[in-house]
Amino acid sequence: MTKRVVTTGVPRPRTLIHPGRFNPVRIQSHHSSKGRHVRLALLPGVSLFDGLVKPLAEIGITSASTTILGGYFEGLQYCVAPPDQQRQAVIAYSKPITAGHTYMIFGNATLGKGMNGLPLVHCHAAIRTESGEVKGGHILTDTCIVGRDPIPVLVTSLDEFELRQAYDPETNIPLLQPYKETTNG
């Protein structure tokens, strides 16, 4: 089925019904008084998850927004987001798709804290897979292994507040959300 349509008329945006009660607060935001940036290199042989989390933790950064500036991975897995057949939520991630030896064209990853208190990385990226196809989706960061060359990352630290995963009743899934307290050093 084609997912792509070109029209001359203005398409009507769709409003989807989520399983939970509508939350009247539509934007949750916090700010830091000053931007703090780090240039990070993901080192060969480490996972994308470890390559982000460990060096940043060592300098006291546990909440951050990062831009992955392109590079090769020895292996990479990603998911797409079709409608949830179980109808627990509007969409559910697919089973992992193995992309093989992959070039990540561009990625964004958010670092925060999971519901279990451990570091969490939420990453979406555009990739060129081993077969040469250009694809995009949700990256499984713990299974992505950096190739032989370091991959540069621009990190924007989120200070004076922190990102934590919390259950969102409206969508019925856990989501990263900003909270005033912080552990960034």
């Binding site: 029209t7 398409p11 945006p13 989807l16 927004s65 990062t66 509007v90 989706g137 924007t156 900003p178």
Partner: protein, 130 residues
Amino acid sequence: MAEMIAVEQGSMGRVAYARIAPNEDLVQGVEKVCLAEGFRNAFVRGALGSLVDSCLGTIDGKYLQIKGPAVEIVSLAGEVRSDEDGSLRAALTGVVADPEGNVYGGPFVPGLNPICMTFEVTLEEWLPAR
């Protein structure tokens, strides 16, 4: 016609992170984050999330619609500027992936990109030198 400025010097200010909820529009949602945080000009520093469907503009004024749900935002760049009429205007461009992972790119059309599950965005305030 307003004078076109090729070079604008300035400095970076505060950094804001926001989570925008389902069915809100992507472009106007980013403008509202600036309202919430008191930013008048800003650059997108990072963003990811999903859309119900995506609508991207074409050079001949048509609409490229990518059907979801969900359409994943896999790359996004852009800025928010304060207009001479006192309004805020976000211009966002990016790459999206359909539910089969196929990718498409272009400028996001304001009002036509409803968020599906969540949208996370980090904005860095831009302070033009006066």
